[in-house]
Each structure stands twice: as structure tokens, then as C-alpha cells.
Amino acid sequence: MGKATVIPFGPQHPVLPEPLHLDLVVEDEKVIEAIPQIGFVHRGLEKLVETRDYNQFIYVAERICGICAMGHSLGYAETVESLMGVEVPKRAQYLRVIWHELSRIHSHLLWLGLAADAFGFESMFMHCWRLRERVLDIFEKTTGGRVILSVVKVGGVVRDIDDAQMAEVIATLDGIVDDYTKIMNTLLTDASVKNRTVDVGYISHDEALALSMVGPFARASAVGYDVRSFGRGAYGDLSDFQPITDDGGDCFARVKVRCLEVLQSIEIVKELAAKIPVGDIEVAVKGAPAAGAQASNVLEQPRGECYYYARGNGTKNLERMRMRTPTSQNLAGMTKALAGCDLADVNMIILTIDPCISCTER
């Protein structure tokens, strides 16, 4: 065995879209331990609830992260609605879920492109992002924004999708499926991809449970936990929803779970678009959360379960707003997956966990 050396990894690294620092303790080419350090993009957004009222804070919440923007605005709005006892119209619930699932598709396609780029598969990176652009075009047409949508409000949504637009959304998704399936089949059957991902960064089912991992990272270790299966909001009207799991526990299983989740999300959007009821898209919300009133909420973000907590103080400003994001849950699992791996596999393991540091630090 060689002498242990510490190699700094990040916060600026070609494979990382966001700043994460790791101290990699290596012996020869083996990583013995990985010590993560975050804190490079902390912006103090939770503190802003003291100076922005509960309606204004929704625009702060969606700026926590560009990729999870729709999810954060939705999670925050649902928390405040449960704090104030607001019942959202059914059509608004459907529209929220449709946009949320579209944002999952664009998040996973972005990740897939980055993963392909990480193992040197440039043409796949281009194809993934080409398809993602079509989803962003859907956002642009239906909400007026490409990444920051500002479409959710406390009490409903601010825009409706009419029948013609909905048909256009479905046609665009149908156009994506064919190309996407080819990309997915290439990724899941190609030998060069398997060489880099199979048996790399293994996490067993028991370890995933013990480390409280969430999202596709946990589901790739056969943990069938998905907040969508609770059937809240429009998810309850789906004919059948089963979380996609895999028992591989390695990087390949994570790639596979995310690949299949894109197709699952497309099916959810299509089903909800067919079932969407006619009606109002918002209800008027008046007053302020009562002093001492508390509410919590969970939402399945593209990276896993995100927990929201809010407490009122009788004014329009909340007393406290707290989020626990999926990446902060998964960091422990990430260090576990990195321990014992080859130095060359570190970037692949980090990418397949899909860390979102902006969400984690806020």
C-alpha cells in the first residue's frame, strides 16, 4: 500500500456544474475516504421570509435552484396553502403536476447529457440537450419563461393551458419519445457505458435505508420510496403509479432509473392532459397565516424528496421557512459510494448522484 495523500476535488471542476469541494484521501489509485465541504453558494434565501410576504416569497423560492425552480415554487405554495387551509382547484392541481413532471423531464435530460459528457460521449450530450430544448420551448409557450416559470401562486396557478396548447404539448412529447428511446437504448446497452458504470459506486439496499437516501439514488438501490406514490394532488388521479426501482445499486442502476423516469413522466403528463377537468385555476387567498400555525410538506423533486416547513406569526411575513433538500440527504450516501472506488471513477459517481448544491445551500 502507498502513502495516503489528500487530493482536493472541486469546487471548480469540469465535471461539476455546481461548486462542491471534496477532500479525497487516496492510497495509490484507491479513494479511502471522501470528505465533502459545501458553502460556496449560500445566499441566505430562507432568511428572506422576514422581509418578503408569503406571496412574494414564491419568487424567491423558485430561485433556489434553476433546475428545480418549478418544484420549489410548488412545494412552497403547497406548504403555505396547508398553513392557511386553502383548497386549490382541481384544474390548478393538474396544471401544477404537468409542469412539475415536464421539469423532471428537462432535469433528467440535462443530467443525462452531463453524464454522457463526463464519459466522453459528446454526440449523446448534444442529442440529450437538443431534446431538452424542446421541453424548454414548451415552458416558454405555456408559461412565458424557459427556466424560471413564475407560474405557481398561493391558491393556484397564474396561467392556464388551453386545449390547443395542450395538444401541442402532447405532440412535442410524442416527438421526443422516439429519439429519446434510441438515446436510452444506446446508453443502456453500450459496452463503453457499462465499462464505466457497472459495479462502480455500489450502495446496498440496507446502506441506502440506513443513510436515509432519497430519490433516484435510493431507488437504484431498490428502495421503493417516491413521494408521488402518496397520491397527493393530481397524482392521486393517476390510474397506476409505481416508483421505478432497480436492485443494481451501482452507477449503471442510477442511470437506468433516471432514463426510465423520463418515459414515466411523459406518460404522466399525457394521462393528466387527457383527464384534466374544466374549471377555475385559482382561488382568492386573503388574510395571513395565524400566529404559531405550522405546516410541513414533502414533494418529489427530480433529485428526490424535498421537505418544507413553514411557521406563521400572524402577519403576512412567515416566521420561519425551512427546506431540507434531496442532495443534503444524499451527501452521506455519496461519501459512502466514493469510499473504496478508483480515483478515475470519482467524477462518474458524483454525477450519477446528481448533486444540486444550489438547493442544498440556498
Binding site: 412574494q56 419568487y59 449523446m124 412565458g144 424560471i148 413564475s150 397564474v158 444506446t186 453500450d190
Partner: protein, 119 residues
């Protein structure tokens, strides 16, 4: 080997309409509902100040005495709260982006006084 598996799709792209446009010679048509920038129809504005209170980033400033409505486009995040809250519907979002500026300046709109106009 992966490149060969995707080769069909990549080769087919040579004969398809390009996904990108030749910017800046060609620009994409903005969809009708694009959140571009806020405009104020001064003839309808009553300077009530609701937009100023609603704005989450304090980008709007209403001065009743000077009869001006001002927006800082560099603070505005295009959320559209002001346009939705406006009781006179004088605020609207135009589907074009704010032009590039060399200097960060506030856009000031002078609101005509209906009484003075009547006299």
C-alpha cells in the same frame, strides 16, 4: 461503439431542418405569452402604488407628487405580480426582452394629470 449506435440519428440530422437558428441573422419568434418586460400605459395609470407594494424585488417606484411611475429593469424579475395586481390593467408584459443597455438606468414614465388635461 456508442457513436455507431447513435450514428443513424446523427447521420439523419444532416438532412433534417436544423434545431438551431443562425443567430443573429435569424432570431426566434417570441411566443405570445413570453414574459419579456413590463410596460405601463400611462393614460390609464392612476398612480395607486399597488404595483410598488406587490413587487417582490422593489423594482417599481411610484411618485404621486411628481406624477411619475418608474421601473428599474435591472431589478425586475419578470414575475408579473404587478400586472396581475394592477386595478386599471395599465401594466402589461410585452413579449420582447429588455434591450441591452450600456448604463444601468431606471425607466421613468410620466403620467399625465387628467384634471390638468380637462382644464
Amino acid at each position: 461503439m456508442g457513436s455507431f449506435k447513435l450514428g443513424g440519428m446523427t447521420f439523419g440530422s444532416l438532412f433534417k431542418k436544423p434545431e438551431t437558428v443562425l443567430y443573429p441573422v435569424v432570431t426566434k419568434t417570441a411566443p405570445a405569452g413570453l414574459k419579456g418586460h413590463i410596460v405601463n400605459d400611462a393614460s390609464l395609470c392612476i398612480l395607486c402604488g399597488i404595483c410598488q407594494k406587490t413587487c417582490p424585488c422593489h423594482a417599481i417606484e411610484v411618485d404621486k407628487k411628481a406624477r411619475t411611475w418608474a421601473i428599474d429593469p435591472f431589478r425586475c424579475v419578470q414575475c408579473g405580480s404587478c400586472a396581475r395586481a394592477c386595478p386599471k390593467a395599465c401594466l402589461a408584459m410585452e413579449p420582447t426582452y429588455t434591450p441591452v443597455a450600456a448604463v444601468q438606468a431606471v425607466t421613468v414614465v410620466e403620467v399625465p394629470d387628467p384634471k390638468a388635461a380637462a382644464e
